[in-house]
Symmetry: C2
Subunit: 134 residues, 2 copies
């Protein structure tokens, strides 16, 4: 079951400049950084009241975020909902006709297991589901 909006991810062409923008110009604090090898991204987390902004930048210019930036430039990339049952939600949504980018969840940031719904299944929005380990 989906519990909350875990984060909204923004693909950025310059991670340091993007962090400076959100911290210095918009007054949102930087909580941490983490590399996510499964997505070939380096990420920065900026919590804001119940959810967070996640800035994502491609590691070594590879992976889907690098392709997104090459095609569109920086911009809103995906939404992530926290679920308390990623396997159950994935099976439930497959039965409703949703397609996923992988056959099973993979390791995400913060020790989560994550899976992405194909944007063609969700009105053009890339939606991630994430389950935190307890």
């Amino acid at each position: 079951m989906i519990r909350r909006l875990d984060h909204i991810a923004i693909a950025v062409v310059d991670l340091e400049a993007a962090i400076a923008r959100f911290v210095d110009d918009f007054g949102i604090q930087l909580a941490g950084r983490e590399d996510v090898p499964s997505a070939s991204t380096s990420t920065a987390f900026l919590p804001i009241e119940g959810t967070q902004i996640e800035l994502i930048y491609p590691i070594e210019g590879e992976g889907p975020v690098a392709k997104f930036l090459a095609k569109r430039g920086g911009g809103l990339h995906h939404l992530c909902f926290e679920t308390d049952d990623i396997d159950g939600d994935m099976q439930r949504l497959i039965k409703k006709g949703y397609r996923f980018l992988t056959d099973a969840p993979v390791d995400g940031a913060h020790g989560t297991r994550v899976v992405f719904i194909h944007p063609k299944s969700a009105g053009g929005v890339l939606i991630e589901l994430a389950e935190y380990s307890r």
Copy 2:
């Protein structure tokens, strides 16, 4: 000063289908609807822990959201931060080099005054600032 993420807006090609997706498939409750003449949009609000999803659909096929849909199809459209001083933030950000889509705030949903930062000023992300009346 920016206080919180007020909403994340998704442009949709079919408002009823999008509401059904978020309510029936993702379990997020619909809180209300409102037409926003200043943006030529019909909107639906779905709160989720401290922020909300806002589905936006062009009224009578006109306005910037209609253009967005014609160009890209449905998808993530903008972020909105709540501020307690929209005029002060606007002037402060202009001094830092940000450009805005209008010269002054206009009427938004829920009795807010809103203004949009040009995405070219913000790494490709369309960012709205909104101040609620007290």
